[in-house]
Symmetry: C2
Subunit: 351 residues, 2 copies
DNA sequence: AAGTAAAAATTAAACGTTTAATATTGTGCA
DNA sequence: TGCACAATATTAAACGTTTAATTTTTACTT
């Protein structure tokens, strides 16, 4: 590949002149400028950014570490990151940790991952990335990250309790609030919940949102309406019976998968979701648009999360002061109202 | 960040010695070796690969260009690429072209993409990638790629007619053959097809597979059983009526989306997929596992395609001779038999 | 025509490594 | 003791850029 020296030699000028021209610096006559640019075209010259970076000491690249590319939320987040990085002319060094094993539609965390994570981060900083974005990092993964990194980092779609690293997360409290408010607007008062795993922060925030919606509408919170699930379809199926016994008129599932389980059980009981019992989900997984009837749910702002994570890290690189609100930035979800929540029937349903 | 010079100074040796030790070269005493390694730990030193690459002239990175991260097949392919690259200690520079706009679950190709593609490739080669993998590239995208690139390239999951670039593709002919053979095994003789877009190479290969299955079972090919679709759900819906008129006992849809449309229409007609009419799909999209009954379909070997594409390019980098079979490498699909194809009823069905 | 300021171009060092060519030290043996 | 040779260590150039400092050329004034 052609180098700046060849260009210089061919044009009969010094390398400094060529460099200046290439970088749009002043101090070269239009004539040489033209001559050089032509030669650049002719030799199909691309400046060696590796060499340039060595001198200027910025690589204009950031490392993106994902736990597993094939998890449904990740590609959209990465998409958001790439969009902003392209605008800012940063390049992405992708590390796909492949930390999960899939089994029965369910992902299990590999247990041999400590060394992997450390090594990969080492590679990244050896490659002189200017910053690192962790995407959807698991609590356990975070533990492998050296406390002191020579470059700034941000988390996208993952909580870190230590909070040394700014993170961008879904505003789950607000999302749950919105969908539950929608159910209340449709006249529902006895709204059952099928939760996610008990210790998940997503689950806790979503529950908070549910409670706030009730509270703001002066509906008494009834713990009996809360049925603990585990994010998987079966727990939605199982929870349905429990909630039906409590006479709920609507079921809010903390994800679409469990809502699928609810649909299954309702069908077996000859109850039609959306007509006999209203159902809402969360996450807007592709498949929930094809449920019968299509599921009303909450769309995760995955793309935005990636985009904003990238914004934050690039602001850090520019040494811009981060507002306090940036330490944990919550991005709003938006509701996707389809057909599974309907206005409550006649009146057999006094509160 | 610490440099090799500091290590050398602190240990009272020359940089060459440190470099040799770091690269496991002979010619240093165990004693200095130990001293240096300790200092490396202590200062948390990572060699600057940028500088190293400049000298050694290999970057150990390859560029991966995807058209749009959010297309369903892409993350799995990328996952396969990363798996192999990690084994070979190559790093990935990811370019997400974002060439599509999504509208109604359907992707449209942006029309302002020529300059984007060229620029991004330029960036990649400026960053000294040693090779480039195009993932799922659209014919139109390929046109933007300069004919002469200074580094080898391969295509994953995309055909190029010009065939200057080796490609790794799905063996669609075989996949279709397998699923149709399965239908035949279940006793079906009148098997309708809902195709993809007419000019798609995937569609053409899948049709070939269908024809071969018939041929090998001495079933006459009847063009009336072929109904042209467009990959989208609606065309499956529409095609159902046409095929039902021809008295088919089974419908092979060239993707799962259209099979969903078939299900919809059958349901309206009070026909149960898998009992009254057998249905098969193609692609194994997540959602088809939740159809009622779950759809029998063909699983795309996406991960393998990525993995093999990476293998091929790394073989090219090593100047290994590629076999002829590598120019277009076809990767086998595997059938996923669920509940939507059943043995044909009694016998109202003479051929 | 000389002087000078502005414009254009060059020189050389530096970025952090690797590596071939040398130089220095240590060891065993006659 | 001196020599040969192996084992260690060092020097210096190179990779392809950028950039501050410097020099040369050009153009304008008087």
């Amino acid at each position: 590949m052609a180098t700046i020296k060849e260009i210089a030699r061919e044009c009969g000028v010094s390398v400094a002149t060529v460099s200046n021209i290439l970088n749009h610096k002043p101090g070269a006559s239009d004539e040489t400028r033209k001559r050089v640019m032509e030669k650049v075209k002719e030799l199909n010259y691309h400046p060696n950014t590796i060499a340039r970076n060595l001198k200027t000491k910025n690589s204009r690249s950031i490392g993106v570490i994902v736990e597993d590319m094939t998890i449904f939320s990740i590609p959209d987040i990465v998409d958001g990151i790439t969009e902003h990085c392209e605008e800012e002319k940063y390049q992405i060094l992708l590390i796909n940790l492949r930390l999960y094993k899939k089994y029965n539609d369910t992902y299990y965390h590999r247990d041999d991952f400590y060394p992997i994570v450390r090594d990969e981060i080492g590679e990244l900083i050896a490659k002189q990335v200017e910053g690192i974005i962790y995407v959807a990092a698991h609590e356990r993964t975070l533990k492998c990250i050296p406390e002191t990194l020579p470059v700034p980092a941000v988390m996208a779609y993952g909580y870190t309790r230590s909070a040394k690293v700014p993170s961008v997360v879904v505003d789950d409290e607000d999302g749950a609030y919105q969908i539950v408010q929608h159910m209340i607007d449709q006249g529902h008062r006895r709204i059952g919940v099928i939760t996610g795993k008990r210790d998940s922060p997503h689950m806790q925030d979503r529950l908070l949102g549910y409670q706030r919606a009730l509270f703001e509408n002066q509906i008494l919170y009834n713990p009996e309406y809360i049925c603990t699930g585990d994010w998987f379809r079966d727990s939605g199926y199982a929870g349905t019976d429990l909630l039906l016994k409590k006479n709920v008129t609507a079921i809010f599932c903390m994800n679409d998968l469990m809502a699928g389980g609810v649909y299954d059980r309702l069908e077996e009981l000859n109850l039609r979701p959306g007509r006999d019992i209203s159902v809402a989900g969360y996450d807007n997984r592709e498949l929930s648009g094809y449920y019968k009837p299509p599921l009303s749910t909450i769309t995760l702002p995955l793309h935005d999360i990636g985009y904003e994570a990238s914004e934050i890290i690039i602001r850090m690189l520019r040494r811009e002061e981060l507002g306090l609100q940036d330490n944990i930035r919550k991005v709003k979800c938006y509701p996707l109202i389809r057909k599974s929540v309907s206005a409550i029937q006649k009146s057999g349903t006094a509160v």
